[in-house]
């Protein structure tokens, strides 16, 4: 890992949507960076703005009702939000590629999967049709699809959920991106194939120095893949730490609740009784509380939490947290 060279820098990103009900503040202050060759894990509540953040990086929010994003996104020194559309098209799918959360939303139902991969390759690389087709089959083989040449002629609906997901992975990796944004890339895969895909990503990372923004709800996968982790809640970054620090000494009560809710296969005895959850629900994205968005559900909440939004603070060694109570939490954990 070549540490220290920042590849992507997201600074106070804001993405708001105009809807019939009012303005939805989907992303409302997200900051993080990724170094070259690094894997940054992103976890967080369903609906906390993880996918919208990645679509903003890809500049794919066009027709969704999104207002112009606030803040800044810099990639290899370039200002992505200020870039022209043709410039962005050269980067998208090439230097920055994305594995989308829902494969069916980004695969074209009327073309074979082989053709779709080949087209991405031809768009960015000087390959003739035949060579691009060959590359598509190679990529399908790489992601563990048996009889890839035959499968290349399948339409998306003829494949299982996990095969479609691997088609997307093949498409994203085909041009050897510098930054891979992987939004829940392995949810439809069984754990043995998941292990192979994770190995493949690590391999490419070693070979070409690729950086990965890895979004997942699977904390086991995070533990295995990530160097650092960002935790999101209600449109904001609420904690950021190295993977070891996050699992060993989480500082934000939401992160603690999340880690407590993880079901495990290796716990002793029959898995009986209810799973633990974080009580309550996420706040309405239209009427966010003045103070900390997690306050209504937080066991540590005090008056100040209701009145004032905490800032993202460095607690030392790059462990960042957005919580008024972090000092008390550290002392409590220590004592």
């Amino acid at each position: 890992m070549i540490a220290g060279n920042v590849l992507l820098d997201v600074d106070d990103l804001k993405v708001h949507f105009r809807t019939d009900e009012g303005v939805v503040r989907a992303v409302d202050g997200v900051s993080f960076h990724i170094d070259e060759g690094e894997t940054l894990g992103v976890v967080g509540e369903s609906g906390s703005g993880k996918s919208v953040t990645s679509l903003a990086i890809m500049r794919l929010l066009g027709t969704s009702g999104a207002m112009a994003p606030g803040g800044a996104i810099r990639f290899g020194g370039m200002d992505l939000l200020g870039m022209s559309d043709p410039e962005m098209r050269r980067i998208r799918g090439n230097a920055i590629a994305m594995i989308y959360q829902e494969p069916m939303s980004s695969l074209n139902p009327v073309h074979t999967v082989g053709r779709q991969i080949a087209e991405v390759v031809r768009l960015h690389q000087r390959l003739d049709r035949k060579a691009a087709d060959r590359r598509a089959v190679e990529m399908l083989e790489l992601v563990g699809i048996p009889e890839p040449a035959r499968r290349a002629r399948n339409y998306p609906h003829e494949m299982s959920g996990g095969m479609r997901q691997r088609v997307m992975i093949a498409m994203a990796l085909a041009c050897k991106p510098r930054l891979l944004i992987a939004d829940e890339p392995t949810t439809a895969l069984d754990v043995t194939i998941q292990a192979q895909i994770l190995d493949l990503m690590r391999q490419l990372q070693r070979d070409i120095g690729m950086s990965i923004l890895f979004i997942t709800h699977d904390l086991g996968v995070i533990a295995e893949m990530a160097d650092r982790v960002v935790v999101m809640y209600a449109g904001r970054t609420v904690e950021e730490a190295t993977v070891d620090d996050l699992f060993v000494k989480p500082l934000m009560p939401y992160t603690m609740g999340l880690l407590d809710s993880v079901p495990r296969v290796d716990t002793a005895g029959p898995a009986s009784g209810k799973l633990r959850t974080i009580p309550g629900n996420v706040p309405n994205a239209l009427m966010r509380p003045l103070g900390c968005a997690f306050e209504p559900r937080c066991g540590y909440a005090m008056d100040a939490c209701r009145r004032q939004m905490p800032v993202l603070e460095d607690t030392g060694g790059g462990h960042m947290v957005r919580c008024h109570r972090w000092g008390d939490i550290v002392r409590k954990e220590a004592g």
Partner: protein, 336 residues
């Protein structure tokens, strides 16, 4: 060891009553004939001779490798796909020969939560209409009660009543998945196929949904086929678990037996590959070696043998039958 025909054997847990579902010798082949001369056509044996039962109020987990036929099993049971052959008894009635009209009363009793929420929600309908339509089709919650009922369902899955007016594309992946869950629960079905129903949810919301389903099971005897790759969730919610590989059942067992003493090498490989949520336990997992076989051209004998660490020549010769190794515990492996 006794050889039992799984189609007639008591493959259900002894504590469960008369099965609500009884699947016998289910097969579903997909022809793949494009560009191939007729007669030489190849097909995919997506589901190949699958038999099992589910008792009333029982939750059966269905796990297995990607492409092994889990979704096809689920959709065929609900007759969203026609089986190539086999029988599907629901409450004692074989659904396979039923015409559309005769099938109608069963449609309300059996629901599915689709694996792909994006593709299963009509993009032109707002959420109120999507759920309202399910209620309307079956004459439930008429008139002014409807909006209340929709709001109630949305709250139950951790969304908000005001989300009724939003369209599917205005939600996150996990929120869309929960709309699919609310729609399936709306008609108060007796049986649900959950096809990866919680895969897009963070662990806290996931726990909330799993607890909700648990609750419906104990209050209303909701019966469920729970398809998932997350073995921890399956362990938590299931009474029994079925493991599939390339269209066939490899193992069926009560949940504790499956996790504590798996008898099939594929089940063992699955359990050994689960990532552990602890970076200090980061280990070098040895993913299965060997070629992943193609369902268009499956290996002879045991379909798992090309990746199996203990396979012998013998394994290429016979299709291993499902054998009972303990009460309710079946495995298809001649080496164990």
């Amino acid at each position: 060891m006794i050889h039992v025909d799984p189609a007639t054997a008591e493959t259900r847990a002894p504590t469960m009553g008369k099965p609500l579902l009884d699947i016998r010798n289910l097969r579903r082949y997909f022809p793949l004939q494009r560009g191939v001369p007729p007669g030489r056509a190849i097909g995919v044996k997506a589901v190949d001779d699958v038999s099992f039962t589910i008792g009333t109020g029982e939750v059966v987990g269905l796990v297995g490798e990607s492409g092994s036929g889990k979704t096809t099993v689920g959709r065929t049971i609900l007759r969203l796909k026609q089986p190539t052959s086999g029988e599907i008894f629901f409450d004692g009635v074989d659904l396979v020969p039923l015409e559309t009209a005769a099938m109608r009363p069963y449609r309300k009793q059996m629901q599915i939560i689709f694996q792909d929420p994006y593709g299963s929600l009509n993009p032109r309908m707002n959420v109120g209409r999507i759920i309202g339509e399910a209620l309307g089709t079956h004459g439930l919650a008429p008139g002014s009660a409807r909006a209340d009922r929709i709001g109630e369902l949305l709250l139950a899955v951790g969304l908000r009543p005001e989300h009724m007016r939003r369209y599917p594309h205005e939600f996150s992946g996990g929120q869309r998945q929960r709309i699919g869950i609310a729609r399936a629960l709306a008609v108060e079905p007796r049986f649900i196929v959950g096809d990866e129903p919680v895969s897009a949810l963070d662990v806290s919301v996931q726990a909330q949904i799993v607890n909700l389903l648990d609750d419906l099971r104990s209050r209303l005897s909701l019966t469920m086929l729970f398809i998932a790759h997350d073995l921890a969730v399956v362990k938590h919610i299931s009474d029994r678990v079925i493991v599939m590989y390339l269209g066939r059942i490899m193992e069926i067992a009560p949940v504790d037996a499956l996790y504590s003493s798996p008898r099939h090498p594929y089940t063992e490989a699955l359990l050994a590959s689960v990532p552990v949520p602890d970076p200090r336990a980061r280990r070098n997992r040895a993913p299965l070696q060997g070629d992943i076989p193609s369902p268009m051209n499956p290996p002879s004998g045991c379909v798992f043998r090309t990746r199996c660490p203990i396979a012998t020549d013998e394994c290429a010769k016979v299709v291993p039958p499902l054998e009972q190794v303990a009460p309710g515990h079946f495995k298809a492996c001649i080496r164990r």
